[in-house]
């Protein structure tokens, strides 16, 4: 080993605390990047594989009832490669000892004809066989089975067409159609299950012999989905077509897709910001670090070492730190990425979930850090090696100090210590700006990391406390007379009933169209309210106008006052024109609302409702849920407490975990920056401070000079960083916004407080270290080594 390399190792050991903190900054940047992107990459890959192996269909459609022979006709449509029909029904499921409302989607499969699309993969147990007497054999979706602890052999009952039937679980299964299983997009593993049952049994129960109500289509290569959908609609209308749509509107796919897209944006954007900030800080820290070695560089030059060798020596020093940090970051990213994938595995059901870390992730994250660190180093070394060695060996010429701006403005009664601090800061504005900018950047990423927790809390509050104020929503399979309301009001514990009417429609404005639903709400709704992103309640449903989510209106190119064509997709299908009365900036979904009675009038139907929102006395919900099971016409119940719990346990928890990880990374970066800034400031000014001690300054006074500068820097960096954090949050929420979701850019005061606390604690700890070093300043030695 050459002497120069030995110097390298010794220097590294000597600066261990700085080496460690810089390496941790690198590790946090690289780790954050790899964690989120590797997890989402693995998720996307698992989806691709499952779609391929499970032959996931391209187009889906529902009809009321169509003869099986129609399949052959549909197969002749241009662009259609294959057609597969099934019978499907949503039913109420009852589990022994469970009060929570549970819905089951029954899918009839023909064991004699192997499926060609949406293949069901058996995870464990047996395929469907002739079940025991009177029990219908069923394969249960894995997510539901796991959440409810169902094993092959378990029995549960289903309310099939008004009759209570027993389902016997023969196996646990997975399907590309139900990677995500849940009603209305809420991840509800406990409340929603998919059951594959013999087609005959379902056909018999619903009088569907020789008929189907659901079909899946595989498109021919290069076929236009739009053209097939149009052709399909034309064919299916007379069979009571409810909808025909591509993968984009398939529930599981849409949820999974938006999750992947969202995570990819977050997973790229946030870590890139992190990595960028880490790299910037690395650059600043490293260049200052090298600059403090000016005299050693000069000595090496005097001994005849060429510039290149010296440059390589310091590059090695920095590269060792960066590589150490990168290895740490990759390891961390690998571990955390797997953990994230485990979180995904709880909401998304795949036969196999393989963790992969794409090589490009390593390449990109490590090269970004390496290059910026190398640039920072070279920059600092160039400044030193460019000097003639004789000059470099001399202490730097006294800088050009002058009166500070404040003094020039006429404020002259400044204490000498403060004057020194201010002049020092003003003399090297770039360096001062960089170190303040560095601390501000770390404040901003702490804010950004924590923001996601704030946002999800805000969403939950807006949706569940402000908007949905009922405790339970009961709904019917088909619109029923609103008079049922009076019956429900007599159920135990019910204090208020509010009826609603939902109808599936297609909105059309010129060539723009969008499938959706109109939700008919009460005129002055108390229990189901429309809430905008500012948590303002919209409570002025017009007599005959629509209120739409602003994104939906924008998608349709609609302005308030214009009319939109509404194609009703259920019942007596008709097309009507309705004016757009108002738009509302909602956070979730593409919704359209009308006053319920006006909606019924528009449909030329009587006083009908599809759902009832109930407010219940505290503690009496179980009683009510039990009673509701005796109502055969009620297909499902939506308990706010259950949904809220599901949301808190899955979606909100995932976001909180991600937020916590990001905040931790950001915290490490902040500590690394503040600590290194303090240490380097000390190294740069040891001589000056020792001289002051010789002149009779006390330790406290001398520390005050250095720490005072640090304090002023941080005092400036905190508000600046919070402002930067605010901007970044605005940017992130804009970039993450999709059709379905508007992420509220809200930052709680506690998040600002936390970011300040992190930086202040790091500063206090660094100040202690610096103070201890100042106390141990060797005045004589410091003076001896300079002229």
């Amino acid at each position: 080993m050459t002497a120069l390399d030995r110097k390298l190792l010794r220097d590294l050991r000597l600066m261990w605390s700085q080496v460690l903190t810089i390496a941790l900054v690198v590790a946090s940047g690289v780790g954050g990047f790899i964690t989120s992107l590797s997890a989402v990459d693995s998720l996307a890959l698992a989806r691709e594989r499952f779609y391929a192996s499970g032959h996931f269909a391209d187009v889906f459609a529902s009809v009321k009832r169509a003869p099986n022979s129609l399949a052959a006709t549909l197969l002749t449509l241009p662009g259609v490669a294959d057609v597969q029909t099934t019978i499907e029904q949503v039913v109420r499921i009852e589990l022994p000892g469970v009060l929570d409302p549970v819905l089951g989607q029954l899918i009839g499969v023909d064991a004699r004809v192997p499926a060609r699309m949406n293949l069901v993969t058996l995870r464990n147990g047996r395929l469907l066989d002739a079940g025991a007497e009177q029990a219908i054999p069923a394969l249960v979706s894995a997510g539901f089975a796991d959440a409810r602890g169902l094993r092959p052999g378990a029995r549960l009952s289903a309310l099939i067409n008004g009759k209570r039937r027993t389902l016997q679980v023969t196996g646990i299964a997975l399907s590309p159609e139900f990677i995500f299983a849940g009603m209305q997009g809420a991840p509800d593993l406990r409340g929603f299950g998919v059951f594959w049952v013999p087609r005959d049994a379902l056909a018999a129960a619903y009088d569907m012999d020789g008929a189907f109500n659901r079909l899946a289509i595989k498109l021919a290569p290069g076929a236009s989905e739009r053209a097939v959908l149009d052709a399909l609609s034309a064919q299916l209308t007379r069979y009571g077509s409810r909808e025909a749509h591509g993968r984009k509107e398939q529930t599981s796919h849409a949820i999974l897709d938006s999750e992947i897209k969202q995570q990819r944006v977050l997973g790229t954007l946030l870590p890139l910001i992190f990595l960028g900030v880490a790299a910037f800080l690395l650059n600043v820290v490293v260049s200052r670090l090298v600059a403090t070695q000016r005299e050693q560089i000069a000595a090496l030059k005097a001994l005849g070492y060429p510039n290149v060798t010296i440059g390589v020596h310091y590059l090695k020093l920095v590269l060792v730190i960066v590589i150490f940090g990168s290895i740490l970051g990759v390891g961390l990213g690998n571990v955390l990425g797997r953990q994230f994938l485990h979180l995904y595995a709880e909401s998304f059901q795949f036969p196999s979930f393989q963790y992969t870390m794409a090589p490009w992730l390593l390449l990109v994250s490590i090269s970004i850090t390496l290059v910026t660190a190398a640039l920072g180093t070279l920059n600092a070394i160039l400044a030193t090696v460019r000097l003639a060695p004789a000059e470099a060996m001399r202490p730097q010429a006294p800088g050009h100090y002058r009166r500070t701006l404040i003094e020039r403005l006429g404020i002259t009664r400044i204490p000498p210590a403060l004057r020194m601090i201010l002049r020092n800061m003003e003399r090297r504005p770039l360096r001062t700006a960089l170190s303040i900018g560095g601390v501000a950047a770390s404040v901003s990423i702490v804010v950004m990391g924590n923001f996601f927790s704030d946002a999800i809390d805000y969403v939950v509050d807006a949706q569940f406390n402000v908007g949905l104020r009922s405790d339970v929503v009961l709904w019917m399979p088909e619109a029923a007379a609103d008079s049922a309301r009076h019956e429900l009001a007599r159920l135990p514990g019910v204090t208020m009933v509010e009826s609603g009417r939902d109808v599936a429609v297609r909105f059309i404005n010129g060539h723009l169209s969008q499938r959706g639903a109109i939700q008919g709400l009460a005129q002055h709704a108390q229990l189901r309210r429309i809430v905008d992103i500012d948590k303002h309640v919209v409570n002025w449903l017009d007599d005959d106008g629509l209120v739409m989510t602003d994104r939906l209106a924008a998608k349709l190119g609609l302005k308030v006052g214009q009319s939109v064509r509404v194609e009703v997709l259920e019942g007596a299908q008709r097309t009507v024109a309705v004016p757009l009365a108002a738009v509302v900036r909602e956070m979730m979904g593409l919704n359209a609302y009308m006053e319920r009675r006006a909606l019924n009038q528009l449909l030329q139907e009587g006083d009908l409702s599809t759902q009832f929102a109930l407010a219940i006395e505290r503690g009496r919900e179980p009683e009510l849920l039990l009673a509701s099971k005796q109502l055969p016409r009620v297909i499902g119940a939506f308990s706010k407490a259950t949904v809220l719990r599901n949301m808190q346990e899955v979606t909100a928890r995932n976001i909180r975990i991600m937020s916590t990880v990001l905040t931790l990374f950001a915290t490490v970066i902040a500590v690394g920056v503040v600590y290194n800034n303090a240490r380097i400031s000390l190294a740069e000014r040891t001589w000056e401070l020792a001289s002051l001690r010789v002149l009779g300054f006390t330790r406290a006074e001398v520390s005050g000079l250095l720490l005072g500068e640090m304090a002023i820097g941080i005092a400036l960096a905190l508000p600046l960083g919070m402002l930067m954090g605010f901007w970044m949050v605005q940017l992130v929420s804009q970039l993450v916004a999709s059709d379905q979701f508007l992420f509220p850019a809200v930052i709680q005061p506690s998040t600002y407080a936390w970011s300040a606390l992190v930086v202040l604690s790091a500063a206090a700890a660094s100040a202690l270290v610096v103070r201890r070093r100042i106390d141990k300043l060797d005045m004589v030695a410091a003076l001896k080594t300079r002229e």
Partner: protein, 245 residues
């Protein structure tokens, strides 16, 4: 103008020759003339002391001879090589192969031990002596595994001398080698330099503002205000141990 050429030892070949050497430092609006029209020849094996007050230009002259700095005008030759025409890269090679430096504040690498500080040079030198031999020559064998911070000032300066001679340089350039040392230690260091000069035949140029040291030189060059004021030949060199100040 006084010129030192005439007074040089005529017998040995010329190592350094300087002609019309000027150096001007610019510091803001100020111009400092560190050297004005200096003419100089130094011969192989010679022990030269440059004497002068602070600011007389002696450090500037030494730095230019050592390739650490370049003059504003004039010419310097090392043997046949014109240093003033040399590139940065050539100067680096020149320092590496021919020059040993000793500085007032030692300039040792604090993170390396005595032996490792020397190894720093032997790693890149063409024909160095062994590290242990160089340490032995300055009498520091027992302390060869110590770090600079564990050595006294005199010991550190002896390490610096060992580091300077381990490459077997043609010239040993010492800038106030005793400036930071006490009387006894200072004399010890000067003895080592004299010994190297005699035993290895290395040309030595020593800067000092301490006139008493002049007695140990072959030739004393007095600088003042950037010019050579006078040159004295010592008919009888005295040993450093006999020096008094």
């Amino acid at each position: 103008m006084t010129d030192a050429t005439a007074a040089a030892t005529p017998t040995a070949p010329v190592v350094f020759s300087a002609h019309a050497l000027c150096k001007v430092y610019r510091s803001g609006e100020l111009e400092v003339h560190a050297l004005r029209d200096v003419e100089l020849e130094i011969h192989r094996g010679e022990f030269v002391v440059l004497l002068g007050a602070s600011g007389s230009g002696k450090s500037t002259l030494l730095n230019i001879l050592g390739g650490l700095d370049v003059p504003s005008s004039g010419e310097v030759r090392f043997g046949d090589t014109v240093l003033t025409a040399a590139s940065e890269k050539d100067l680096t090679t020149y320092r590496r192969e021919h020059v040993g430096f000793v500085f007032q504040f030692y300039n040792l690498i604090p993170s390396l031990t005595v032996r490792e500080n020397l190894a720093l040079v032997t790693d890149i030198a063409v024909n160095p002596m062994s590290v242990d031999e160089a340490i032995d020559r300055v009498g520091l064998t027992p302390r060869r595994d110590h770090f600079p911070a564990q050595l006294s000032g005199g010991e550190q300066q002896r390490v610096a001398i060992a580091r300077a001679i381990v490459k077997r340089p043609d010239v040993l350039l010492c800038d106030e080698p005793t400036g930071a040392l006490d009387y006894v230690t200072g004399k010890l260091v000067l003895e080592v330099i004299a010994k190297i000069n005699v035993e290895l035949g290395t040309t030595a140029v020593v800067i000092t503002h301490n006139a008493s040291i002049a007695g140990m030189a072959d030739r004393v060059i007095y600088l003042g205000d950037g010019r050579i004021q006078k040159v004295e030949m010592n008919a009888h060199k005295i040993s450093p141990s006999e020096l008094k100040w």
